[in-house]
Symmetry: C2
DNA sequence: GACCTCCAGGAAAGCGGTTTCCAAGTCTGC
DNA sequence: GCAGACTTGGAAACCGCTTTCCTGGAGGTC
């Protein structure tokens, strides 16, 4: 590979001058030499070795993002938001997927630390398992001790800057909206019991119902994905309205109903959470709680990069969007 | 940050020994020293500086993937496949998105080159603009000249190992299947005329119709995304069957029809291409040509990493999947 | 017991840049 | 015309790690 030394030699200047011309510096370089260096670099097809730059400068221009699954539009939207923000800052992005394995998350964080990335974004819901979370926190602490910056999208479990969707509040608001349409018998496709995001949404929904004096919903646990929603739907009893704790599960539930000839919303109303863009054209259109996912990703990056001392936890509230998958009854 | 020297000092050994213990080497280190080093590293929370390792070793364990848009499930699936494959090889992944700007693609490739990534995957359709493609090829050549490996998913435009979906053949097969159902009047929502993937699919479809002695389809150009399909649908004339050159466009077309009260498939049949997983629950279920996207991503990585001399172009054939969005007529 | 081979450990030379510190001009103002 | 203030260019130290080469001691052989 072509090195800076090759360029300097060809241009007949010192290493220092070549570096100053090509890789940005506060120092000025005379027009003549500057031109010579630039021409040499171009002729040779020189590309600075970023590993060397990172080493010499002691700072990298890479940030890391860790998500569970890129093919899940929820994470894709969040990652995209963060990546756009990174691009405007001239930062490169390293993406890791954990496929929901907490060990993978820790391993990836360690690797990003080793890469000396400028900042790390931990995206997605975490399980409330103190052992695993503890190890993650530990790894995070090491990283931060070395000057690394970190932020998190999800719950405030890690003691770092966090962009947290208002899951309880959003679910509660949704519950009130649905109750207003006359529903009284609810079921919640609640996802895994130990997943904080899922649990919060379920709790917020139930609490709101309770406050309204309505009976507690039937709570059905299961996986947090499309197939989880599909499977859980078949266990629903008497409910007239089903709340799936995310949109992807809701779509699974809708598929299950369709197969069984249950009409939505005539026979049962269905609502989700997140407002995934890719699902906007779903039939019937899904009632849901809209989260500004891209903004959240971008905001998380901003928080991570910012030098502020106190840890910031930013609540992002969702907006209930009523669409045809629910109907007024009674 | 903790450096290897800190560890060596604390363990009372030389730098060389510490390196051999912690970062893998062919050389043996005595059990006593080994233990001392490991303990020191652990106590200090040492993480090797990968930038330094990359520099010293002259080889990085990072690969780069360049896609157009992560929130497009097509690219997400491809990227996911490649990332899984990378993970099994112990490689880290750097993802860049171009948002369909060819300049961005070139810029990103340059950056990945500068990072000395082991391999680069260029994913997604390219425009057949000789000027832009030329500059991309040039950049690619520089990268390869320095020992970089590259592969491409899409068309064989760049002179590197390529995993190419059989767009013409798949579209032709789809055309024959649809003709068999009795359709004779077709329209193609053809996407941008200069986008090779779109053009190939459109051409394959048209040619097959021609071979069957059927009239040429109405060809409507527009953007390659959901809104492009939505807009193009309203320009369709007499056709009984509409082929959108990708699934996302097809979904846009379905939305347009739904809004206008046109029933699918009763009034018009609609087909897409790709078989996007997220869209499998769409109503009506979309007839399409299935592409094994994840496998293609993984395979591309494999090709990129392999040392084989001759450039490999691997055709991946799609499979027509008939679903309810088309119906038999006549 | 002398000689040779092996092997663990360390010193030091890179890897490809950045940046500090000097030296030598080049401009000012008088 | 000259002291002093800026500029510009280069030499060399340094970033953190790998790896080659060297040294001294252990183990084996005749």
């Amino acid at each position: 590979m072509v090195t800076l030394e090759d360029v300097a030699k060809q241009a007949g200047v010192s290493l220092a001058t070549a570096s100053r011309v090509l890789n940005g510096s506060t120092r000025q370089v005379g027009a003549a030499l500057r031109a010579r260096v630039e021409r040499a670099a171009d002729e040779l097809g020189y590309r600075a070795n970023i590993a060397a730059q990172t080493l010499a400068r002691g700072a990298s221009n890479v940030i890391g993002i860790v998500v569970h699954d890129l093919t899940d539009p929820y994470f894709a939207a969040l990652a995209d938001g963060a990546m756009r923000a990174a691009a405007t800052e001239g930062l490169l992005v390293m993406v890791g997927t954990t496929h929901r394995d907490p060990e993978q998350e820790i391993a990836y964080l360690a690797t990003l630390h080793a890469q000396r990335v400028r900042a790390v974004l931990l995206v997605g819901s975490r399980v409330a398992d103190a052992r695993v979370t503890g190890r993650l926190r530990e790894e995070l602490a090491r990283y931060q001790a070395g000057g690394g910056r970190a932020a998190c999208v999800g719950q405030d479990l890690l003691g770092v800057d966090t962009v947290a969707p208002a899951n309880r509040e959003g679910a509660a608001e949704l519950a009130r909206s649905l109750a207003e349409l006359g529903h009284t018998k609810f079921a919640v496709l609640a996802g895994p019991p130990h997943l904080v995001t899922a649990a919060d949404r379920c709790a917020g929904f139930s609490e709101a119902l309770d406050e309204l004096g309505l009976p507690a919903p039937q709570v059905i646990h299961g996986p947090f994905d499309r197939d989880g929603g599909y499977a859980a739907a078949s266990q629903v009893g008497e409910a007239t309205c089903v709340f799936a704790v995310n949109d992807v599960m809701a779509v699974g539930a809708l598929a299950a109903y369709r197969e069984r000839g249950v009409r939505v919303p005539e026979d049962v109303s269905v609502a989700g959470f997140d407002d995934i863009v890719t699902l906007r054209d779903h039939v019937p259109a899904l009632t849901t709680v809209r989260l500004p996912l891209k903004d959240m990703g971008a905001r998380a990056l901003e928080l991570a990069l910012n030098e502020e001392e106190p840890v910031v936890v930013e609540k992002v509230s969702g907006e209930v969007v009523l669409r045809e998958s629910v109907r007024r009854i009674g």
